[in-house]
């Protein structure tokens, strides 16, 4: 393990010597975010002068390897052996993965993890998909949930849930109650309630219009 003052610029930015200019730029921005005074992830770890020194080194590293001409010159001074060693060690740095590989951040609408949720995600992303009654039933079944369980958790009667799924609009309660039921139901299925309400209520209104005609 090397001390800070003995690290080369690639190690300072935690990037492989094989990195592209785009990757170096991103690594530089990430390093600046990581090691600044307001970063709570380093709270209590470093003294003020150490943060300053590190920030200076991060800038210096980017000024040098963030430019192809100065980078080539710097690589020559490092020599092949050190470049190879740094490349080998770089597996313990941040790992770079394609944007779509892991749902990293918490999001109401992007289920994390299980195969069941992956299937639901695929259903939802199909073109022309809308949250109709049958679609909600299909999602529920894909998640392996039965109506009884949903009813117990949401306190919406099983009968009303069944009417929602089979789109028996004439049997459903007034719209104000229906919205509340749909919202609870959507939450149980880990769906985005406003989106479910939008789709379902517009289908409901369409039915109302047709009924009036």
């Amino acid at each position: 393990m090397k001390r800070l003052d003995t690290l080369n610029y690639y190690e300072i930015l935690e990037i492989s010597p094989a990195a592209s200019q785009g990757e170096i730029r991103t690594a530089y921005e990430r390093a600046k975010r990581t090691y600044n005074r307001d970063s709570i992830g380093i709270y209590s770890l470093l003294k003020e002068n150490e943060i300053e020194e590190l920030s200076r080194l991060i800038e210096e590293a980017y000024q040098t390897i963030g430019n192809e001409t100065t980078r080539r010159e710097y690589d020559r001074t490092l020599g092949c052996d050190e470049l190879e060693e740094t490349k080998a060690r770089s597996s313990s740095f941040y790992q770079h993965v394609p944007e779509s590989s892991v749902p990293l951040y918490p999001d109401e609408t992007s289920p994390v993890g299980s195969d069941q949720h992956q299937r639901v995600k695929e259903m939802i992303s199909e073109s022309g998909f809308e949250y109709s009654g049958p679609a909600l039933r299909k999602i529920r079944e894909a998640l392996g949930l039965d109506l009884g369980e949903i009813s117990t958790r949401t306190k919406v009667s099983r009968t009303n849930l069944d009417f929602i799924e089979s789109e028996k609009y004439d049997r459903l309660p007034a719209l104000v109650y229906l919205k509340g039921f749909l919202s609870e139901y959507a939450k149980r299925l880990s769906l985005d309630p406003p989106k479910v309400l939008d789709d379902y209520v517009s289908r409901y209104r369409k039915w109302e219009k047709e009924k009036e005609m």
Binding site: I40, S44, L45, Y94, Q95, V102, L104, H117, S190
Partner: protein, 317 residues
């Protein structure tokens, strides 16, 4: 006292894996996470035994909805039973057994060294796929010794300065404690003890400083300790995450630990802040059972996957 059929089980995947869940700060969600990870693993068919070693503040049983316990670790500490297996109680979840923490606050909170070593020895001999050890707050020697039951214990932090500060202190303390047990060299032990005082006169602030100081005394010993650093790979969970910046706290700690401590922290995941969590605690029901599709439950499922596969989070640019 119930037999949940764990004592004669066959092991899978190279033996029992011990997961000690700690992190220094009280209230960061250690017991909640331990309980829900245990349930999550048991639901996937693994045989799990949970041990509440929060001596003096045990309440893991409450997270699992168990009534005031009849048999506890206290019965084992006081030798009313010979083996810790005898105080494993059944939970409502198949495959999940629990050793409920001691309730005799005055005596149990400060066990004698031989009592602690007996607990550790018996935990190491428990037979299941996973043994999850819930630790108390702080970084007393008792807590550190339970954390060091394995080289890859789990640290729980919340994205708050107080929690981060305690976590760094905990990592350093655990590491120094580990090194101290590994060396008999009197001068090296003296250096390690000096290092445990933050404001020591030798200016040792990080594990890296410590190893250099030991290397100065005995080169071979220094190299041996360096190898130990490489094997010491605590895992990190960031709890109560509200923003992308909160998620990044885990990556920052990983980078800082490697850079300044030479310790390779493995960031196994985060748990989103979710009102469902406190509601499940109020109901005394594990969240992953009660609300399997809640945000926090999905995060726990993801962490469970990572722990099973021994993976960690990767950074998305």
């Amino acid at each position: 006292m119930l037999n949940i059929g764990l004592s004669h089980s066959t092991r899978i995947g190279g033996g029992t894996q011990i997961l000690a869940v700690g992190g220094g700060k009280g209230g960061s969600g250690k017991s909640f996470i331990a309980a829900n990870l245990g349930v999550s693993l048991a639901k996937r068919g693994h045989r799990v035994i949970m041990v509440d070693t929060d001596l003096g503040g045990a309440n893991l049983h409450t997270f699992l909805g168990l009534s005031p316990p009849q048999f506890t670790l206290d019965d084992f500490i006081k030798k009313r039973v010979d083996n810790i297996r005898s105080v494993i109680v059944n939970t409502e979840i198949p495959n999940l057994g629990l050793v409920i923490g001691a309730r005799d606050i005055l005596n149990a909170a400060n066990p004698k060294v031989h009592q602690k070593l007996r607990i550790i020895r018996h935990i190491k001999n428990l037979d299941g796929d996973y043994v999850i050890v819930d630790l108390g707050a702080g970084n007393s020697f008792n807590v550190l010794d339970f954390f060091l039951l394995s080289d890859d214990g789990i640290l729980v932090v919340t994205p708050e300065p107080t929690s981060i500060e305690n976590a760094y202190r905990f990592i350093k303390s655990a590491f120094y404690r580990k090194l101290r047990t590994l060396t008999c060299h009197p001068e090296a032990r003296q250096v390690i003890e000096t290092a445990m005082n933050q404001r020591n006169e030798r200016g040792i602030r990080t594990p890296l400083d410590l190893i250099e100081a030991v290397e100065f005394i005995d080169g071979g010993l220094g190299r041996m300790l360096m190898r130990e650093v490489e094997g010491f790979r605590p895992r990190l969970i960031v709890n109560q995450v509200r923003t992308k910046e909160d998620v990044d706290v885990g990556f920052t700690m990983k980078s800082a630990c490697l850079r300044f401590f030479a310790i390779n922290l493995s960031y196994v995941g985060y748990i989103a802040y979710d009102n469902e969590v406190w509601q499940s605690v109020q109901r005394k029901r594990p969240l992953v059972l009660e609300r399997p599709y809640a945000k926090a439950s999905r995060c726990i499922a993801e962490i469970t996957n990572k722990l099973m596969k021994k993976q960690q989070l990767t950074f998305n640019f």
